[in-house]
Every structure is written in structure tokens, then in C-alpha cells.
């Protein structure tokens, strides 16, 4: 992260592909019924996780939510531990206790997530507050969805972050849906989410969430602002999730979203788009792309093998770590 330009571009490309191929394989193997926790796929939304994390340093911290496989991988979480958690094994990132919705990796700064919408927002805010009090030069990123902006704690946290000039970046992945309900049925002024933080004096940007370089650039600005005592930033990345809210079906199969809408967005695939750009700028060759895919395919396969071979948690694990 914060590598020199070309290395960074390649890192971003590889990481988006990594997320995509993991989600693809999870989806493909889902019918085997061995990954027994509800998977909330981020396919289609990879540019946000990756663009943001590319701007962060290892010391910076992320709080996510239940659609978190992308944040976990982009922040540097171990893919083997991710898959083991999905397979409910002892070697999982959370010991099999959290499942897909509640993965985390504190050692790489992916501190935690919540399966309750907006539950992580005040926590991320408090983390930034604590960092500020102790003069830690760290930035906190809080990922949230569009529906999370309907919860009260969102407003409470924006106010507090603005008031205290907290070193935090709120990144809203606006994919337009809460489960199957479109934002126009849930929110007054649905085009204006990013106007809300401005009422608190927080700089806010509404950007194309599928343009990984734009996400990276704006996050970079926000990181600098935070580190220089300038306070919070809000970034709204407009994007689309290809799958159902949960599970491995494309939404259009249930008739709740149209095939046409899905296809329109699949044409705006953030990975294909970036790939085209990199080829054009000769940052990558076609051979590079193939090599990358081969290597990531192996990474994915190894992670699944590891997960399947790991043991399930022992009975003695049931009541561990409840209290310190």
C-alpha cells in the first residue's frame, strides 16, 4: 500500500482479481453445503475495497460489515484463514465462531465487523477517537452500505467525528439495494447521501465506485486530511452487487432485479475496465494477466484445500473467549 505508482496499480489489479476469484469459487462450491454460514458476496464491488486499502498503510485500521470478504482480503487477511472460517473450521480467522458475516483479522488491521447494519459505525468512530486521544498516527476506515445511512447511529457518529475532527474515513458502498428493496423506496433524496455529511462540515465525495483509480485517489486525499488533523471524510462509491443479498444466485434469477439491470452493470465490471486501462498504458501485458490469473487460481485452490483439510472446532472451544 502507498507503493510507488506502477507497483500500486499492479497490486490493485491483482487484489481485485483475487477477491473476484475467491467469490467465484465460494459461489461455485456453495451447493456442496460445507460452507455453512450465510455468504454475502461482494462481486462487482471490488474496486471500493481495493482502491481504499491501496491508500492505507499497514498501521491503519478498518472496520467492516457482513459483506466483508473483500475488505478482509484487501487489507491483507490470510485467504487460508478466510476459507477455513467459511468452512467453520478451528483454523478459521475467527475460530469458527463468526462465520462469513463476522470475519476479521486484527493483526493486519481489519479489526472487526458487524452483522447488524450500521453496528460498526460508532465503533469505528470510537476507534478513531481513541487513536486521536493517544496521538496515534493512524487512520480508521469505516465501510458501510447505503442502507446503513438510514440508521440513527450513522448521524450520531458523523456529528461526533466532525465535532472532534476525528481521523476517520467513512466509505459508503452505495449499491442501491437493501436486500431486495431499492433505495428509492427507503430514502428521501436518494441521490444525495453525500450531501448529509456536508451538513456537519465533513468533506464528502460521490464517485464512481467501480473506478478503482478514482477510489484510490480520493481516499489518498482523505488519508492526508486525517493525518494532518483535518478530520473526517465521507466517500460515497456508486456500485452494484451482482449476487443476491446473500447466497450464490444472481438476483435476476429471482425476478427481483431485472436481467437488463444486471447486464448493464456487468458491462461496467471494475476489473475488466481496469484491465483495459492497464493494457493500454502497457502497465500489464496479456501474458501478465494470464500469469496473474494462474497464480491466483492456485492461491484459491490452496486455500480451499487448507480449509477442507482443517479440523472442526473441538467441544472445548464452545465457551472460550467469552470473557477475557
Amino acid at each position: 500500500m502507498r507503493l510507488n505508482s506502477k507497483k500500486n496499480l499492479i497490486w490493485m489489479y491483482k487484489t481485485m482479481v483475487k477477491i473476484r476469484l475467491f467469490e467465484n469459487e465460494i459461489s461455485r462450491r456453495w451447493p456442496e453445503q460445507e460452507m455453512r454460514s450465510p455468504p454475502h458476496m461482494c462481486t462487482g464491488q471490488e474496486a471500493i475495497a481495493v482502491g481504499v486499502c491501496a491508500s492505507l498503510r499497514a498501521v491503519d485500521q478498518v472496520i467492516g460489515y457482513y459483506r466483508g470478504h473483500g475488505y478482509y482480503l484487501a487489507k491483507g487477511g490470510d485467504p487460508k484463514a478466510l476459507m477455513a472460517e467459511l468452512y467453520c473450521k478451528q483454523t478459521g480467522s475467527n475460530g469458527g465462531k463468526g462465520g462469513s458475516m463476522l470475519i476479521s483479522s486484527p493483526k493486519v488491521g481489519y479489526l472487526g465487523s458487524s452483522a447488524i447494519v450500521a453496528g460498526g459505525i460508532p465503533i469505528a468512530t470510537g476507534l478513531a477517537f481513541g487513536n486521536q486521544i493517544q496521538n496515534f498516527k493512524k487512520v480508521v476506515v469505516c465501510f458501510l452500505g447505503d442502507a446503513a445511512t438510514e440508521e440513527g447511529v450513522f448521524y450520531e457518529s458523523l456529528n461526533f467525528a466532525a465535532l472532534k475532527k476525528l481521523p476517520i474515513i467513512y466509505v459508503c458502498e452505495n449499491n442501491g439495494y437493501a436486500v431486495t428493496t431499492h433505495i428509492k423506496f427507503r430514502r428521501a433524496n436518494p441521490e444525495k447521501i453525500s450531501e448529509i455529511p456536508k451538513a456537519f462540515g465533513i468533506p464528502a465525495y460521490k464517485i464512481d465506485g467501480n473506478d478503482v483509480e478514482e477510489v484510490y485517489r480520493i481516499t489518498g486525499k482523505a488519508v492526508n486530511l486525517a493525518l494532518n488533523g483535518g478530520g473526517p471524510t465521507f466517500i460515497e462509491g456508486v456500485t452494484y452487487r451482482w449476487y443476491l443479498h446473500v447466497g450464490n444466485k444472481l438476483d435476476s434469477t429471482t425476478g427481483l432485479r431485472t436481467q437488463k439491470e444486471l447486464e448493464t452493470w456487468m458491462k461496467k465490471d471494475p476489473i475488466k475496465r481496469f484491465e483495459k486501462q492497464l493494457l493500454k498504458n502497457k502497465a500489464l501485458t496479456l501474458k501478465d494477466i494470464t500469469d496473474i490469473k494462474v497464480r491466483i487460481d492456485k492461491l484459491v485452490a490452496d486455500a480451499f484445500t487448507y480449509a477442507k483439510a482443517s479440523s472442526l472446532p473441538a467441544r472445548g472451544e464452545l465457551l472460550t473467549n467469552i470473557y477475557a
Binding site: K89, K97, A147, L318
Partner: protein, 330 residues
């Protein structure tokens, strides 16, 4: 219900969608449409307050939530406001909340809680837990008609059960338990989904001539303590099976009441079956250790029966048709 009473409205996420609340509201939505069904933003605290206000305006809102865990976001409006409004402002708040207890497939710590004890603790709230399809309909109708704030907690596993449901309009009274099975050897109070486990345990025990009296409380608040006491006076032994944590839950309330009011009738200590004191793990392996089942109930029964009866349980064999998880624990 909505046909009879034009004041009933439904508020909730995906209220206009087929899969909401496991498909239980879509048929009504198709009939009454968005004039009576209102999609809600993700704002549990807001929704509950809006529901309270709508109730004060004369409507009878039914607010739906896909997990009772989410009700914790609504708790201030439920407990500090709606529960106390009648007491403070002399105006009852007529709303109903439906929420689901999740279980299995890695629902995990934040999608599996069974929180009836918390809601039952607030004077002014009523808490209902149907365990059969017939009661699910009848209790919901009574809950909507009841002029107080009522929370109906439905268990995810019970959605798959099949039972006789009378057509048309009927009420199952709140605050009235049901003696589901008569027996003379011990009393088993089984709450919500535990009624299924209790039923299987009773069949197994019947095979060795131990007869269990099963009571389904149906309403947690107000609890029909009289029915439970009458049964304990008859059998002298009590096991309580709850879907929540054993510690600090509904079974503790029932046990304490019986100890206070029927102490002289007890022939053995009261036993409680509930979840261990820990969050629900996601891993299915740990789920197996977490959720008590028929085997745990029978073990508890063995501990409170007199020696000669308990001895019969040693040679227990189970027929596949009657047992779901029982693997022979002795």
C-alpha cells in the same frame, strides 16, 4: 385480520416483497397492497417510534423484523416509551411486533439470540411465543387485537412444521398456557421450538412407561403460572425447556415461581434446559454442542426421577421414527 379491521397496517423491511418473514405476509400484501403495507428504511428505533405514534393516531401497526436480535436497536422505544405510555399518559399503545429467532447454518452470534426474557422483564410489554401453526395464527390475531404493545417471537425452525390451522377468524387467548400432553410422572414446560424436542422426549419416555405432562406456555408475559403450578402439584417434578440461555432467562422465572408457590409439592429439584452461557457459534460443529436436544432432556429426566424409574432409562433404545438426535447417552 386485515380484512376485518381496516386499522391494521404492516411496517417492515421488504414488507412488499414475497420472501419477507418467510413468505408470511405476501399473500396479505397481494390483497391489501401498499395502502396497508409499508416498506421501511433500515431504522429499527425509528420504525418502533413511528409505530407507537401511528398507534396513538388510531391505527394498529404490525411491525416485522427478520431477527429478534435487531429489536435491541428498538429497545428504547419499546421499553422506555411504548411499554410505559399507558402508565404515564393514560393512553394504551396498540402495536404488535413480529420477530424471528434464527438458528443454524452459521447464523452466528448476532442472528441467533432468543431474547424473550429481556422483553418479558418490562412491565407494559406482552410477549407471545407460538409453537404450533394453529397457535401462530390465533395468537397473532389476539396480539393485534390486544390494545397493548405485544411482541410475537417466532422460531425459524417452526416455519417448517405442519399442523392443523382452522380457516377463518379465531383467537387464541393471550396469557393462557396449553396442556399439550397429559401425564403423571413429571411436568415439562416447553417454550417455542423446544416443544418439538419435548414431544419427542415424551414419546421415548412413554416407551418405558414414564408419562410426561407437557405444557406449552404460549404466552411468556403474562405467564400462565396457575396451569404450571396445578401440574406440578400433580406430578411433583418439573423440567423447563427454554430456547434462550439457561442463565437469567425465562426458565429462571418459572423455576423461582414454582419454588415460591409450590415448594411443598416438589419431590425433586427443578431442572432447566437452555442454551449454555455463551454467544451462538457460527461453526456447525459447535452448534451441535450448543443447542440442547432430546438427549439432554432425557438426561435431566433421569436425574430427577426416583431410582426405580430412572433405572428404566438405562436400557433405553430408540426407534428411528421417534428420535431425531437421540444417540443413546448412557
Amino acid at each position: 385480520m386485515m380484512g376485518k379491521d381496516g386499522k391494521v397496517i404492516v411496517m417492515g423491511q421488504s414488507a412488499e416483497q414475497p420472501e419477507a418473514m418467510f413468505g408470511t405476509i405476501y399473500p396479505a400484501y397481494k390483497r391489501f397492497s401498499h395502502k396497508r403495507f409499508f416498506e421501511m428504511p433500515l431504522s429499527e428505533a425509528g420504525i418502533t417510534g413511528w409505530g407507537t405514534g401511528a398507534a396513538l393516531s388510531g391505527l394498529k401497526p404490525v411491525m416485522t423484523h427478520h431477527r429478534d436480535d435487531f429489536l435491541l436497536l428498538a429497545l428504547d422505544q419499546m421499553a422506555n416509551h411504548a411499554a410505559k405510555w399507558s402508565y404515564i399518559h393514560r393512553n394504551p399503545v396498540n402495536w404488535t411486533i413480529r420477530a424471528i429467532i434464527g438458528r443454524g447454518w452459521g447464523q452466528g452470534p448476532q442472528h441467533s439470540q432468543s431474547l424473550q426474557a429481556i422483553f418479558a422483564h418490562f412491565p407494559g410489554l406482552k410477549v407471545v411465543m407460538p409453537a404450533t401453526p394453529c397457535d401462530a395464527k390465533g395468537l397473532l390475531i389476539s396480539a393485534i387485537l390486544d390494545p397493548n404493545p405485544v411482541i410475537v417471537i417466532e422460531h425459524r425452525r417452526l416455519y417448517d412444521t405442519i399442523g392443523n390451522v382452522p380457516a377463518g377468524f379465531y383467537k387464541v387467548p393471550l396469557g393462557k398456557a396449553k396442556v399439550v400432553r397429559k401425564g403423571s410422572d413429571l411436568t415439562m414446560v416447553a417454550i417455542s421450538e423446544m416443544l418439538l424436542e419435548a414431544g419427542i422426549a415424551a414419546k421415548v419416555l412413554h416407551n418405558v412407561e414414564i408419562e410426561v405432562e407437557i405444557i406449552d406456555p404460549r404466552t411468556i408475559q403474562p405467564l400462565d403460572k396457575n396451569t404450571i403450578l396445578k401440574s406440578v402439584e400433580k406430578t411433583g417434578r418439573l423440567i423447563i425447556c427454554d430456547t434462550g440461555c439457561k442463565d437469567f432467562g425465562v426458565s429462571a422465572e418459572i423455576a423461582a415461581s414454582v419454588a415460591e408457590d409450590a415448594f411443598g409439592y416438589l419431590k425433586s429439584p427443578i431442572k432447566r434446559i437452555g442454551l449454555p452461557f455463551g454467544p451462538t457459534p457460527a461453526s456447525y460443529q459447535l452448534e451441535n454442542y450448543y443447542y440442547p436436544g432430546v438427549a439432554d432432556i432425557i438426561k435431566a429426566v433421569a436425574e430427577i426421577l426416583p431410582k426405580d424409574q430412572a433405572g428404566k432409562l438405562r436400557n433405553l433404545t430408540a426407534s428411528e421414527a421417534e428420535m431425531s438426535k437421540f444417540i443413546g447417552i448412557f
